[in-house]
């Protein structure tokens, strides 16, 4: 029953996200534009993300063959693979100045980033206050961890650029 409610929650979240993306991009204004160097970097980023996911899936396969079990639901491992790909791609693009497109409004992205963080933090904080860390929804916790990693990288990169400009 719990699994079914998680699956329904994910599907509803996905549908809402797709609808919001279509709405935001109705005039093709939300689509990021990149220059030729950025496109090249992003291509390499996708390549590294692909390798990272392949390596991760291979390790998980070997662990599966070895019948090594973890006290987590299997879907969390698949989700972790997706997040690893996102972190590798975004991290590579951030450090090579290809994360922000030419037409991106960084303030708007910061708001989306913050809203995603808050939406994922609510169930985690709720679980922590009621039952402790063991009952915290790991899916939201993983998203928060990803946001924390990417947010830190963006902040450090911003500070480095600011220092260089001075």
């Amino acid at each position: 029953m719990k699994s079914a409610s998680i699956a329904i929650g994910i599907m509803v979240g996905l549908i809402v996200a797709v609808v919001l993306c279509i709405y935001a991009n109705r005039n093709h204004r939300a689509k990021s534009e990149y220059d030729e160097r950025q496109k090249e970097i992003r291509g390499r980023g996708y390549q590294y993300a692909f390798y990272a996911i392949c390596i991760y899936e291979f390790i998980m396969m070997v662990l599966g063959i070895g019948d090594i079990r973890f006290p987590f639901e299997p879907y969390l491992f698949h989700f972790a693979g997706i997040l690893i790909g996102v972190i590798v791609l975004s991290g590579y693009c951030i450090w090579h100045d290809a994360y922000w497109g030419l037409n991106n409004n960084r303030k708007r992205y910061a708001i989306i980033f913050l809203a995603t963080g808050i939406l994922n933090a609510i169930p985690v904080i709720g679980a922590l206050t009621h039952g402790g860390l063991t009952t915290a929804p790991l899916l939201n916790l993983m998203v928060l961890l990803m946001l924390l990693i990417l947010g830190s990288e963006l902040l450090i990169k911003y500070l480095v650029e600011k220092r260089e400009a001075e």
Partner: protein
Amino acid sequence: MKNLRLKSARAAKDLSQEELAKLCNVSRQTINAIEKGDYNPTINLCIAICKALDRTLDELFWDEG
């Protein structure tokens, strides 16, 4: 290899990297990478830079060495 000719042509026009980048519709970091010799631009971008700086391809990008 650093492109000092591009840097001096930009300075002669009194343009910042950001301003030149906007004229060429690229990011400031791309102009910086070209000046530092970290990125080889395509011919289209070379032409856009030359037009923005009123220089020829030879003057900015031809390697005489």
